[in-house]
């Protein structure tokens, strides 16, 4: 299992469009992906779950990835969340 913290830099936070990008990325993976903000958790493959975390730009997320391709997925997700636009 991989776990890391990331500061979300996406402009305007995780709205529908960036959330959809994230889901696209997670859904291609066999791993189980969980995003946590404080005490709230969301399935990385659920667009609604991610949107309802209410992630704003500058928020810190904890990402947990468990599965065969966890290392690759971790890199991709980290990049996605750290990019600024």
């Amino acid at each position: 299992m991989v776990q890391f913290e990331v500061t979300v830099n996406v402009e305007g936070g995780l709205h529908a469009r960036p959330a959809a990008l994230l889901v696209n990325c997670s859904s291609q993976s066999q791993s189980k992906i969980t995003l946590s903000k404080g005490t709230k958790h969301a399935d990385g493959k659920s667009i609604l779950g991610i949107m309802t975390l209410g992630v704003s730009q500058g928020d810190t997320l904890t990402v947990q990835i468990d599965g065969a391709d966890e290392q690759n997925v971790a890199t991709a997700i980290q990049q996605l969340l750290e990019q600024s636009s």
Binding site: L21, V23, D43, K45, S46, L48, M51, T52, S84, S85
Partner: protein
């Protein structure tokens, strides 16, 4: 009198059609069921039905209203695929023996509550999408009617809220307005109403439904948000007058839609539109624009961690080129840096980003990336009428280097036997004062100029356009900006090339006559404002415009210019 949030301009007067369907989804009669298998079957059947309905509606919407609006329905379909949505419903049925409709309603209510509790207005509006999809699922489960029957005569829809898919199913020939108790300016219904030109007032409050009955006459003013139920004779007459005036304008714009942008004495200019994403193509073509004056290629590069390769770029440019056929599409090469960051390029943080490493400066520093874009553009040019435009050029050497790389890309394609438009036109943005002052030299080496007023004002007046403290200094009516524009146009005409203008100024009707008088050949702005610009052009003579421009160039302050233009507009 009732008042709401004005979300789509215009006045409407018509009888009310009141829809009283539920606001909450909680309408499941029996909450538990003994037959879990049956309920799971009902749910999955309903989801499949919903998917088919949405796919069909999406197809219709795409045909009638363009792919941008159809994207709303894609989002709804995505919810059906979301494990936290349908998956959660199935789990409730299995674990708590809930009836299918009760499970839908429970999950939907959770998400609605979550979205509505969020601070962000945009996220609050997403509750609408959940409501929409959930209602559809419940109607499918109960075998209810998914189609509302509308009257065959004009009406104003009054409802608690209107879901996006309901908006898309409204009979456009009869609906004259939309009023809702809930919702706001960023809801899908509001966006749709605006793009369809239907006056709308939203968020009028919970008392709306009590105060308005089906059949009563209603006046809505989508510009002020005012609602007048059963108006007296005087009020009615006033608003009828206003509505008639609006209708006259609208008809005028519609009547000149197919006519050229030509002055009363036969001088012809071209009205184009700016475009951000290829999905806008259909709507823009339907609106009657002559072509695209500015297509920003940045959209392909944003929101991603890797750069688009040649084939991906080619596909996007080709789509637009083919959609517009023989209408020109001016594609601007990558214009990032400044306020637009690009993760994949890992640009350094800068003290003065707008004076720094951006646009053409990046393309020339990274020719291997620039060549990919040029090759993609050239390949796409075989499928329509593309023009290439270079941004942020200040030095002649930059233009020459960019053109050299273009020639290199052409030579590569020739060697590979790949088709492209050998005569593809090449232009440059005029947005740096230094380049404007040297326009005569540049004019000898390009096919056209396009003045970018947003940056030109910023650089000419040394005013950061994002800084609210100095916003009042920012104006394209500043005499210095006008002189530069005038010089650029004159230099282009002396060299036998044409000049366009893309930027807010092109869509400002107050500036139309002035720009025409300065000799501008092409105007490119938001498609929604161009009918007004066309009307201005068609109602003046080029002689009159030239006199006006000549006088404006003698004025010394922004206020004097604006006042003079306002006086002359009357």
């Amino acid at each position: 009198m009732l008042k709401g949030i004005p979300v789509s301009a215009g006045i409407s007067i018509a009888p009310v059609l009141r829809l009283t369907h539920e606001t909450a989804i909680t309408q499941a009669e029996s909450t538990t069921s003994v037959d879990t298998t049956q309920e799971l079957g009902l749910l999955s059947k309903s989801v499949e039905q919903a998917r088919e309905q949405l796919e069909k509606l999406k197809e219709q919407t795409e045909e009638q209203l363009g792919s941008e609006k159809a994207a709303i329905l894609s989002a709804h379909i995505a919810f059906l695929d979301d494990p936290a949505f349908v998956g959660e419903m199935s789990a409730l049925i299995e674990n708590q023996q809930l009836a299918a409709s009760a499970a839908v309603s429970q999950v939907a209510d959770q998400f609605i509550a979550l979205f509505e509790s969020m601070d962000d207005a945009y996220m609050k509006e997403r509750a609408d999408d959940i409501r929409d999809v959930s209602r559809r699922l419940i109607r499918n489960i109960s075998g209810g009617d998914t189609v509302i029957s509308y009257p065959e005569e004009p009406f104003i829809l009054v409802a608690w809220d209107v879901t996006p898919s309901e908006t898309l199913q409204l009979p456009l020939q009869h609906v004259r307005g939309i009023v809702t108790a809930k919702g706001g300016a960023t809801s899908h219904a509001a966006i749709l109403a605006r793009s369809l030109g239907i006056p709308a007032v939203m968020g009028a409050g919970d008392t709306l439904m009590e105060k308005v009955d089906s059949g009563s006459l209603l006046i809505i003013d989508g510009t002020t948000g005012q609602l007048i139920v059963s108006p007296d004779a005087d009020t009615l007459a006033t608003y009828q007058e206003k509505a008639a005036q609006e209708e006259k304008e609208r008809q005028l714009y519609e009547a000149i839609k197919e006519l050229p942008a030509e002055t009363t004495d036969g001088h012809r200019v071209h009205l184009m539109a700016n475009m951000a994403v290829p999905e806008e193509s259909d709507a823009l073509i339907a609106s009657g624009v002559e072509g695209i004056g500015l297509f920003r290629s940045e959209f392909l590069f944003m929101d991603r961690s890797t750069l688009p390769d040649e084939n991906e770029q080619f596909a996007a440019y080709k789509h637009v080129a083919a959609a517009f056929g023989d209408k020109p599409v001016i594609i601007r090469t990558l214009d990032v840096g400044g306020d637009k960051h690009l993760p994949a390029l890992a640009l350094p943080q800068e003290e003065n980003p707008f004076l720094g490493f951006r646009a053409m400066r990046i393309s020339l520093a990274r020719p291997e990336l620039f060549l990919v874009q040029l090759r993609a553009l050239l390949r796409a040019s075989a499928f329509g009428r593309l023009l290439i435009m270079f941004p942020m050029i200040s030095h002649l050497e930059q233009l020459r280097e960019a053109k050299r790389l273009l020639e290199q890309a052409k030579a590569e394609l020739r060697a590979e036997g790949i088709a492209f438009d050998e005569k593809i036109a090449v232009g440059m943005m005029m947005e740096i004062p230094g380049a404007c002052l040297q326009a005569d030299a540049f004019a000898k080496e390009v096919d056209f100029f396009s003045i970018g007023t947003n940056d030109l004002v910023q650089y000419t007046l040394a005013v950061d356009r994002m800084n609210a403290n100095i916003a009042e200094l920012y104006s394209y009516y500043h005499p210095a900006v006008l002189r530069l524009i005038s010089q650029v146009i004159e230099a282009s005409h002396r060299a036998g090339i044409w000049t366009g203008l893309c930027g807010e100024m092109a869509g400002d009707p107050l500036a139309t006559k002035l720009l025409l008088g300065l000799g501008l050949d092409e105007f490119s702005g938001a498609a929604s404002v161009m009918p007004k610009v066309k009307e201005r052009i068609r109602s003046t003579s080029v002689e009159e415009a030239k006199q006006l421009a000549k006088h404006v160039l003698t004025l010394s302050t922004v206020d004097e210019v604006v006042q003079y233009l306002k006086d002359k507009a009357l």
